[in-house]
Amino acid sequence: MTSAATRAAPARSSRAGKAGRLTAGNALPGVAGFAAFLASLEAVPRIGLVSPDYLPPISRIGTALVELAGEAGFWTALGDTVRGWFVGLSIAVILGITVGFVIGTLPVLREFTASTIEFLRPIPSVALIPLAVLVFGTDLRSVLLLVVYASFWQILVQVLYGVQDVDPVATETARTFGLGRWARTRHVTWPTALPYVLTGVRLAAAVALILAITAELVIGAPGLGNEIGVAQSGGAVARMYALVVVTGLLGVAVNLLARRLERWLLSWHPSLRREVAA
């Protein structure tokens, strides 16, 4: 997290095609790990640690998953959730970055907002549910409010750390070459903060997904969360876990996307350089 960006790495080989190979190389143990995880999920109810009535073995969940895939309603719900997640995350990202840069680059603002941020951050989104329903009803906007509120903080905090990490030598170099405030933000502060922003996006993406589903579950807005709620209150255990598995897979997909984005945007960053060199 320090400006390790300054260390000269000896890796001088070509960068082309590296990312692709890296993920391909990484996929195998990942798949193996996942398979091991699934196997243990299958084993736990089978050896009688818990009753399969309450936690069905993964094979039964898989069957339910296949059934789900055949329902048009499931795909609509998935679409609803992904939309709520994506729109909410986008708003949070844009808002978090803007506010983070404004606060981060003005030390006075930073000093004066610190306590308020710490105060607002731990207020759980769930406590805002009645307010959300009151103001926006039970549709997408309520979900968005909760998603944005929860994931905004993740981004904001990361951006604040990132903006703080700008190397003064780099800033001074930029100043002597006549770069103005805006150009410095664009060419110096932004690239420095970018790794932090991406980590923030990764954290926020998971939080946003969790909140989208929780909000649907609690408020009843359409989406996977609502489907989970219906399955739960109907006692359809396998179906419920199948839906939970879908949310988990969604999380894995989101993470893969975020990693891709990181590789693409941050090929210059020491942490990725090292992966290539080692």
């Binding site: 997290m1 990484n26 143990p29 308020t116 710490e118 009645p130 009151l134 954290l203 589903i213 993470n255």
Partner: protein
């Protein structure tokens, strides 16, 4: 003299914006008719009745805090030890990452029934729910921190035969500690959120339980006092965390300042 001036300024900085926001809230809701947005004056007046004149502080707030600390400390232990292991080994990292991402994406409310199957409905379950949320930022940050340990330090340690627990403590954990502490800060605020969520299930007391109970029984003013209390709690814990951070990482802040050529 100078010290006193700095403290005054810090206090002013900490209080100015909250005071302004509270004032704004006060004015905007002064004659609020809305049932869900009672005037701030009423909310503040209710604080005394709801929290101070009852045994709620010991019956609800204290158990919540204990569970929070339990879950948080467990998350620290688990997150740091797992993080060190995963961060040190490329293989293990590749092996675990998809599963961890999978688990990370599962919303705690749907995780609760599974946890109840294994841990029952008592405090253990709630502590586990809190753990399940705090763990991720601590784990991820530890992994990144351990991965970033300076190679020259690694080689220095090898040359001086630094091995086993000494290596772990003097090299790996200390070197990753700035990142770990960042994880702790994030984890703590998520922990507070999870504390509330955990009390939505199988609870019979707690701060979060009280807030939800107020919400369900339409005691809106009381609910707002709970939310305020929750925010205050978050702020206090964050301040404690900052004190801790300043102590543990004094070397780190000094180092950074030195790297910046003395300018802050």
């Amino acid at each position: 003299m100078r010290l006193a001036g700095r403290v005054t300024r810090a206090v002013a900085a900490a209080l100015a914006l909250p005071a302004a926001l509270l004032a704004l809230w006060w004015i905007l809701t002064a004659d609020s008719e809305s049932y869900y947005l009672p005037p701030l004056s009423e909310i503040l007046a209710a604080v005394d009745d709801v929290w101070l004149r009852t045994d709620r502080l010991s019956v609800d707030v204290l158990p919540s805090l204990l569970r929070l600390f339990g879950g948080f400390l467990l998350a620290v232990a688990l997150g740091v030890s797992l993080g060190v292991a995963i961060g040190s080994s490329r293989r293990l990292r590749a092996f675990c990452e998809p599963v961890l991402e999978f688990l990370r994406a599962i919303p705690p409310p749907v995780l609760v029934p599974v946890l109840m199957l294994f841990a029952g409905i008592g405090d253990t379950m709630k502590v586990l729910v809190i753990l399940s949320g705090c763990l991720w930022p601590i784990l991820l940050n530890t992994v990144e921190g351990v991965r970033a340990v300076d190679e020259v330090l690694v080689e220095t340690s090898r040359c001086y035969a630094l091995r086993g627990p000494a290596r772990l403590w003097h090299l790996v954990i200390r070197s990753a500690s700035p990142q770990i502490v960042t994880g702790l800060r994030q984890g703590l605020s998520i922990g507070i959120i999870l504390m509330v969520i955990s009390e939505m299930f199988a609870a019979s007391n707690g701060l979060g339980f009280s807030i939800i109970q107020f919400q369900r029984t339409f005691a809106v003013t009381e609910m707002w006092t709970g939310i305020l209390l929750l925010g205050l709690l978050g702020f206090l814990l964050a301040t404690l965390m900052r004190v801790f951070e300043r102590r543990v990482l004094s070397w780190y802040f000094g180092l950074r300042q030195a790297q910046r050529g003395g300018s802050r």
